[in-house]
Subunit: 283 residues, 4 copies
């Protein structure tokens, strides 16, 4: 079934749901899913609504024109997408491959509705996995090179491959402000701790030293500031006192890959809206 997915955000007031559903009813749109949320702090209204395109009176390429009056009346920002078009996802990797492997397997099994045309890494380690799953692999070394230089190569590939969004599958380099701006709200990172605890390098070592009884993982949008972007998903696993740093890492990797692929799915299904430094993630 071909579905339209509308995400919309506007100042809260009385009657918004009514206005939007009126637009859909008038154009013969049969609603399949509807979730709304009012952020009391900012007094803003958020909604995600999905309808069947069969019989809908407006082709999506003319949606903007048809919806303009309603959107303007509500001072709304919105995003409209078709379920028919799959996103093109680029994966960045380094030496630890569990998040990469999970994403490739999920996509192979048909559980992650994206195409993965390319993997980029500063190491050759991921080449084997890329080949197994028939994905183009680019080894772009970073050591001893200027960030501007190697990011130029990366950006060129992303452009050539018409990439829609990027998953940092344990890529251990910080992206430049320029890179982040080019893919604003379209880069998802997995951090191997429960943020905001243990920002930065070696979080399992940090967790071990601190003696926490739980270790976590956080998927978040990437911003210019390290590990500070809006959080999309988090999960944890208990940490036994007997666990060494290595065992913490091994146990934690299971949580990382789960959280990372969860966030990628939510993104691909257009279930995320960012509000400043926070996210709404619809069911």
């Amino acid at each position: 079934m071909n579905k339209a997915i509308l995400r919309i955000e506007c100042p809260d007031k009385q009657g918004i749901v009514h206005e939007i559903t009126e637009f859909l009813v008038n154009n013969n749109g049969n609603i399949l899913e509807l979730e709304q949320f009012v952020d009391q702090r900012t007094a803003r209204f958020f909604m995600r609504v999905v309808w069947d395109m069969t019989g809908f009176g407006i082709p999506l390429e003319k949606f903007d024109i048809a919806f303009a009056e309603t959107a303007n009346g509500l001072s709304a920002k919105y995003w409209i997408n078709s379920s028919a078009k799959k996103d093109r996802l680029a994966l960045f990797a380094s030496k630890e491959l569990h998040c990469l492997g999970e994403t490739l397997m999920q996509s192979f099994l048909g559980n992650l509705p994206v195409e993965i045309p390319v993997i980029i890494s500063n190491h050759e380690t991921a080449g084997n996995l890329a080949e197994k799953f028939g994905v183009k692999f680019f080894h772009i070394p970073t050591d001893g090179r200027e960030k501007e230089e190697y990011e130029k190569e990366q950006l060129r590939i992303l452009e050539e491959q018409r990439i829609d969004f990027i998953g940092l599958a344990r890529y251990m380099r910080i992206l430049s402000a320029n890179f982040v701006r080019r893919y604003h709200d379209r880069i998802i990172n997995i951090h191997h701790s429960f943020l905001p605890a243990f920002v930065g390098a070696n979080p399992y070592r940090q967790a071990y030293e601190k003696g926490v009884k739980i270790i976590g993982a956080t998927a978040h949008f990437v911003t210019e500031e390290l590990d500070q972007g809006a959080i999309i998903a988090q999960d944890i696993t208990p940490a036994h006192h007997g666990y060494s740093v290595d065992r913490l890492r091994q146990v934690g990797q299971e949580t990382e890959k789960k959280v990372f692929s969860f966030a990628l799915k939510k993104y691909a299904k257009r279930k995320i809206i960012r509000i400043g430094n926070r996210t709404i993630v619809f069911e």
Copy 2:
């Protein structure tokens, strides 16, 4: 803030959200919460909507008349409630008091929006707790008596106390069909296992013999058939191989009390709609 809570159920079709929100907009109802759900199996639509009564054009006692046309047009069943009126909850107990204690404490701390005027038990054990929290206590023995006889006493008390709903806080007697019918959809039981596993007596013993690695608890509506009513909430806790039956029971009690008070809160906040043998439980 005085709020109205409408739960509504009707055959699914295009435009239902629009029709209901139209009614609210026309009467100046400011929507605070809205959740909807379409059950694909039965092709039925379900919605819970909450609005501010301040400025709303219709007093709740006249809601039925005002809403009749909309409801009839949709062939809808609905329930309308005011957040201002607190339910009167009766608790039934036996000898194990953890669920009773939790409910009394939650109510005392203001976390469970109900009044608890009465506790009924077939043992005297709960009398002390009842007294601590200033709740009337009725010891109605059941051993060696006809069910009809002692239930008559119970039902009389429930009526005198104008009870809205009943929580079976580990009350170990099966209610008669007559009793269940009188409080249809208004009796919540806590079963000390993950239903449908381990129906009936001694579920922790059953779980121990089976060697499960997880033990659970289930809150459900009571029907005439034992442990078969629609499930409202379930949760689990890991079971270590070293746990004896007693340790399973002790660990499991923490889950029971959590699940039971969760279900009572959802009921009191009118967040549950039953569909046949299943429940919708809104966030």
Copy 3:
């Protein structure tokens, strides 16, 4: 580091830990891990102890002779293994490949200390995955054939490949009593429900109909009786009322693969002892 792993079981009495550790001390065995457990119901003692083989006075192939007196004195049953020797694991699959994919990926990433020489399936679906990971694939059809006939082929392959244990990665056929006996205590199945709830076919459909709020998965040893073998591991995930059977299946698969690979790891690390219909699973 080359380690010896001893699992031992005997009637409980005073001084067992002391006797066994005496044997190790006398032979210069440095204990790295020790876990013990007394099952009060059966009055039996269980222990798993791991020591460094460096400097240990007895080569493992002579362990039985050296340990005989101690073992006899305790009327003990025991299993001795070397961490240096990796098990050879055969995977059986059908059409749903998430558990198979997870196991292959875990092994590829070095997180599951086994060799996987062979995959056997009654469908061709898994052939692609087998090829990706360089594993021999045998498509042995079962439809319209006698069990004895196709199991003969399966057993021959297992023998040729010197298989140590078998993982049924959502293989949907029931093994014959003869097959099960040949690999007694060496076949692990993943059942896609929280056993003992929802035995048999289509557990997600069963769970949906029952309206449970949690869905689970169970890894267990295979016995002649369907889904009745000793449970090794279980886990669950919350089930939202909005989930269709398909969504339940999709969500549940994440739990299945986690539980299945957890059980395989515990087996490979010799952390499981079966007591009748239950298991001890050491940390």
Copy 4:
């Protein structure tokens, strides 16, 4: 059954388990529980062993003399306790009473093996609960007073009541270094966040602003530095994007009370050993 509980810590070497169990065997001590752990980082050995005092050759008051040679030989630090003697626990509270209420209820129901002779608070709010459960209540105001002055009153009460350990059940004042030293390793605090995230005041507000998807609670030993003592237990609960700060607080309180009472039980059962800033918590 009267049990002895020995916790012991010493430099790791070969044969420690053997030496300690030899001492027990020689004195006719029947081991009921034994857990050991080697901290690879510090190369230290930790053990907790429980035995039946019936028939044991040494009365506990003479244990130190009898065990001296073994302990000295191992350069061991140890703690010996009898299960027959219940700890006397003092609870400190402020205005939020959920942790206090839970602890009193657990103790009332016989699930927490301590005596609670006294509650101390800087507000009168907890007086009612104290009275319900027959516990002495001391209202010691802190506003506008010198810490030294009011802590003197608190310390006098603790001494008079022969308090063994202290639970800070959401007591919102920082204890002086002098106070902490007097009850070194005997004060357990519940912090309403997943430490080390959100140290200090208003963690639910901090969590809300950060947009985390999980909120946690941490029970830890109190040291002179705020929220930095060794962690005993942690747990979390998912945080929905729709939760206000108040809802986060309400949901989080359930986790707080669970974690707090878990830590108190582990302490009372002598299942905790602190290693620097970390804890070993035995099953």
